[in-house]
Symmetry: C2
Subunit: 348 residues, 2 copies
Amino acid sequence: MPSTIKDVAARAGVSLATVSRYINGTGKLRPATAERVNAAIAELGFRPNAVGRSLSTSHTKSLGVVIPSLSNPVFSDAVSGINEAARAEGYRLMFTSTEYNRAEEVEAVSSLLEYRVDGLILTVADAEEAPALDLLEAAGVPYTLLYNQSGRSARPAVTIDNVAAGREVAQHLLALGHQRLGMVSGSFSASDRAMARRDGFTAEIVARGFPAPRVLEVDFVNSEVEEALVLLMRDRDTAPTALFCSNDLLAISVIGALERIGLNVPEDVSVLGFDGIAIGTHLHPTLTTVVQPSRDMGQTATRQLLACLQGGSDPDTMILPYRLQIGESVGPAAKPSPTGPSELNQTK
Amino acid sequence: MPSTIKDVAARAGVSLATVSRYINGTGKLRPATAERVNAAIAELGFRPNAVGRSLSTSHTKSLGVVIPSLSNPVFSDAVSGINEAARAEGYRLMFTSTEYNRAEEVEAVSSLLEYRVDGLILTVADAEEAPALDLLEAAGVPYTLLYNQSGRSARPAVTIDNVAAGREVAQHLLALGHQRLGMVSGSFSASDRAMARRDGFTAEIVARGFPAPRVLEVDFVNSEVEEALVLLMRDRDTAPTALFCSNDLLAISVIGALERIGLNVPEDVSVLGFDGIAIGTHLHPTLTTVVQPSRDMGQTATRQLLACLQGGSDPDTMILPYRLQIGESVGPAAKPSPTGPSELNQTK
DNA sequence: GTGAAAGCGCTAACAC
DNA sequence: GTGTTAGCGCTTTCAC
């Protein structure tokens, strides 16, 4: 139904090739010709068909984006950055969220490959074990990982040093006098970065001669978080005095659950998050967290990928800086109460 | 570089048409033939080129999505819903966020039109005055608005009744004894729904014989919010005792600013938000807000649009239910303090 | 400076 | 059942 280059050519009394040249600015047109073409285009409301062009040029000027979820601001911020950087270079985004479903990863990538995106940016569950990435490599389509901890597999990624961040979190907590530390994480199998944070955290604690942290792996459902926490915190004399959460959303859940079971943050337990989502500074207590430059990471990944598309080289891994942001949710270790441990769940 | 149908045909010793039929399941193949084709596809790692198919069929199985920003959970939730519903029907998403920039709206739509998306879902600044939509209509590409208050222009939309919601907010506040009400909104020119909420809010208040609310229109920058609030709240005897914010993100800013200038929520001022973003229930005080079924709205819009694509009919407007959710950020009107108005900014 | 024509990968008549 | 062929809308040699 929309008009084609052919219609424009007929109307302007020139050939297809001339119209094409006019549109793409390739080759010089006599001013008079250009004017006639221009007029024809305007009169017809002609809009070049990118599908035809893509078939002909074998590139689509579009990028695939695959992320686990949009509900976490960490990802939506990154996508904002991707969007901005892509648009600046005239690229469109084909977007998919997998909802943390690994099977979706390969389905999404397959589909994006059929659409012949020029490159992709993605966050997968586990960069070491990702059929979706193998697919991409087999297809020879450039991509760059975002957030993923691409360990020994050496896959191109824009990320932070999650292990170092985990260590720094441990140091911070230890420096505040906490001796019994714990970690609460979402499913490790859905997040290689959570694993890396745990590894750094644990390593540092052990290296300093403290007992390895108790690690709670929870399915991200509120009720389950609360249940698990009741168990973990039952005996205040042995329970952790500080909890490192693998991400801010989880930290927020944890703080809520803790308060519901009668524990105050940070007086009774300190809670530290990860990601640095904007809302963290508006909470009470404000979140202490490791902030990742999400938007910037998205932009960087995109620019890098785009550079490779023009240049031909393959993307490299880039480690961006993180920053420990001090909030109110972490305090100094409480001195053991002289009157003995306080009771939990006094409501009953 | 990737293999084509032709390669597969050659390898399987059949014609292009046969391979095409196999892929699309159109027409019957002799089992033996099907097997050979299947083997050839596997051996070659063949993946059909959607660009070629689109050119041939003149549909792309892709939907355009244009929203103002991903930073507001209201939009990222909607996009999640869109993503889910689209994927269920085998459609891909071409995504753009305009960052509340109206010029971007038409640029995004133009570009999406070039890519020949089969339909679009979008939230524009103002549905009454949107060149981007005129473009779409001229092109005859089906679309449906999301969140927009498509007033007399009768453009197809999936939304809630923002006017009624505004009225209900007013009733709620009035019922709690508040007599001087205020509203804080982002730029009205960037949000027809904010206008509608204000209109309903104001109309109800005036209809009940109370003075029209003071309306603050702020550019969404924290410092500006605080400044404006200082002015508005200077004289506690005449200042509003309850503030209706046009969205939750703004409400959160407002609560923060209020506390910074020494006013407690809800003791000194009640604050009511709009949208029902998930984080609202984790704040202190928890947000009282009008919740929109964002994810559901995204899904509904998508399903409706998709139905039209198959059916041929044009999308209709659907008004979904909203729900006033009571939180702690709104309390009963404070009795005038017997000792006179409290001082502001006592910190200095 | 401009035109003619081949071809990008696929689908859909239309034959056989 | 399966093959042939003509496009879909565009870009791009290669002539002129």
